[in-house]
């Protein structure tokens, strides 16, 4: 069950009334609201928030790697509602092994590049993304640099893109 301080927030109340099973956890810390969402439901939750709660902006999508803890990845969605002037953070916890989640590109077009960036730097796959390719690192790069177990020392020479 969610703590009282959260349940009083109108967004949380609306979301709970819609589908209580989608919210796994949440906190209100340093005047910022964070909700942990069931990863399978993320696209629906985002759709609901955009339509019913006026969260018309996706400021960014990013991730945090808690290696070696499990679940290893946290995908973080930074939402903003311009009409309400409110911000909300959604989180989805994903296992380290073959991490994947549904894309939110169909809700906000802004998600396109941000999800590509998370894919490139963390190796998290976004299902049904229109163009899930590397964005920062060159094609054919080995590994995902923002993972905590990515080697920061040693030698690695990039061989360039394979031209077929």
């Amino acid at each position: 069950m969610l703590p009282d301080v959260l349940a009083k927030q109108p967004t949380v109340a609306a979301l709970e009334a819609w589908d209580a099973s989608a919210i796994l956890d949440g906190k209100y810390d340093r005047s910022e609201l964070t909700l942990v969402i069931e990863p399978e439901r993320i696209a629906d939750v985002c759709c609901f928030l955009k339509k019913e709660r006026q969260y018309n902006r996706l400021a960014a999508v990013t991730a945090v790697d808690w290696w070696p803890a499990e679940p290893r990845f946290e995908v973080v969605y930074l939402l903003h509602s311009l009409p309400l002037n409110e911000r909300l953070r959604l989180k989805c916890r994903l296992p380290g092994d073959a991490a994947q989640i549904e894309t939110v590109c169909r809700v906000w077009k802004a998600a396109d590049w941000y999800e590509r960036e998370v894919f490139d730097l963390f190796g998290i796959r976004f299902r049904n993304h229109p163009n899930l390719t590397r964005i920062m690192m060159p094609e054919g790069w080995q590994g995902h640099p923002l993972r905590k177990d990515y080697p920061t020392a040693g030698r690695y020479s990039y061989q360039g893109e394979a031209i077929s």
Partner: protein, 405 residues
């Protein structure tokens, strides 16, 4: 080979008009892409039918690097993200860390931050105006803009010792005490600046060539821009009066009196008008900060976080210990996460900082405004002329350091 004459290369089918579409590559070294942005354009005659951006040429892994630095060392990395507004990047990072630490910043430091942030905004808009005007053929504006920018860079140098990579705002306040007599150059600059803006406007605002290159060019609807994550002057030129300095004030911006310029045309010219007006408003804010500058300490009272004064360090054991701890290990920041936003010259600049209670940032994600703004570019250029693509590109005012990080 002779095959070239007969068969078109794959992907180049004939269009309805009997012409052939051509794919061309613009950049990464094209002068109007300001940095290393590569655009892939598909053209039908002179019309852009499809556009795509290829970014990442300037990716330097700053977010990864920040994880290997102590909390205060990471400030120096933030300068290098958006190199046209280093101080605003310093400010956003410092505010995020201060919120994690729960630090109170004295009024003098807050006002100084506002004043220097606004000078940074002018500096950034000057570079934008100069290069944008040059892209579309008005060469001399660039020289005028650089003339005033030089004065601002001298002011930065006076405060921090650096012209560009300032690192002047640190978690807890300022890096150094403001230099003696700092008011003089700032006052002199602010007194003359409004008339300088008039000069730029004389050159451009009613210039028929400039008007024809910019009016109605690069148009996009407000809803699309919001959907693409566009922020800042671009969104204000599309009719939305949203400025983070007003909607989510930080560093005592609520105490300053200024207007948020808005236009509704959402074209290159409207973006130009918004930015020029923003320069005037920034000068107004800086003037208010200069006149009402409070007195008092310039850094927070937090001996375990900020380096002690030299004099104290030499006479007090406690200060010496603090100095040693801060320099060798760094300070610890309580566990937690914050997303701090500020209004950068380009829009919403956000730092999502996560601490695991250690001496280094566990994760430091930067939401660069240019990243979102650039994402909307295909929307601005598709269906228009190639020459207009240059104007539209300039009007998004991206900085590749901020896009690629």
């Amino acid at each position: 080979m002779s095959d070239w004459a007969q068969a078109p290369p794959p992907g180049d089918e004939l269009t309805e008009t009997g012409t052939r579409r051509m794919k061309i590559n613009m950049g990464p070294q094209h002068p109007s892409t300001h940095g290393v942005l590569r655009l892939m354009l598909e053209l039908d005659g002179e019309t852009v039918t499809q556009a795509a951006c290829d970014i990442g040429y300037l990716h330097t892994g700053i977010e990864k690097e920040a994880e290997a630095k102590t909390w205060v060392q990471a400030v120096t990395l933030t300068d290098r993200l958006d190199y046209l507004c280093p101080l605003i990047n310093n400010l956003c990072y410092s505010l995020a860390v201060e919120r994690l630490l729960g630090l109170e910043i004295p009024p003098l430091a807050q006002w100084m931050r506002v004043m220097l942030s606004e000078l940074t905004r002018i500096n950034s808009h000057l570079v934008w105006l100069g290069t944008h005007a040059m892209d579309i053929g008005a060469m001399s504006v660039f020289l005028y803009c650089m003339r005033e920018r030089e004065d601002i860079l001298r002011i930065f140098e006076m405060f921090s010792g650096q012209r560009m990579m300032t690192s002047y705002f640190r978690p807890g306040g300022l890096y150094l005490e403001p230099p003696r007599g700092w008011q003089g150059p700032v006052k002199k600059f602010l007194a003359s600046f409004p008339s300088k803006v008039d000069e730029y406007e004389d050159l451009l605002t009613a210039n028929p060539i400039f008007l024809r290159r910019t009016k109605g060019v690069g148009h996009a609807a407000l809803e699309d821009l919001v959907d693409y994550g566009v922020t800042g002057p671009m969104i204000r030129a599309a009719g939305l009066a949203w400025d983070i300095r007003k909607s989510e004030p930080y560093s005592s911006y609520e105490k300053f009196d200024f207007d948020v310029p808005v236009r509704t045309e959402s074209d290159v010219y409207a973006r130009y008008q918004v930015r020029v007006e923003e320069m005037r408003q920034s000068a107004r804010i800086a003037q208010q900060a200069l006149e009402g500058m409070p007195s008092g300490p310039w850094k927070a009272d937090a001996p375990k976080i900020l380096l002690p004064d030299r004099e104290q360090m030499k006479t007090e054991m406690e200060s010496l210990i603090h100095h040693f701890k801060i320099v060798t290990e760094g300070y610890r920041v309580p566990e937690g996460e914050v997303y701090q936003v500020v209004e950068s010259p380009r829009g919403e600049l956000g730092y999502y900082v996560v601490s695991d209670g250690g001496t280094h940032p566990y994760r430091c994600f930067v939401r660069g405004p240019s990243f979102g703004n650039l994402q909307s570019l295909p929307k601005l250029v598709e269906g228009r002329l190639v020459a207009d693509a240059i104007a539209a590109l300039g009007s998004t005012d991206f900085v590749l350091g901020d896009v690629d990080r």
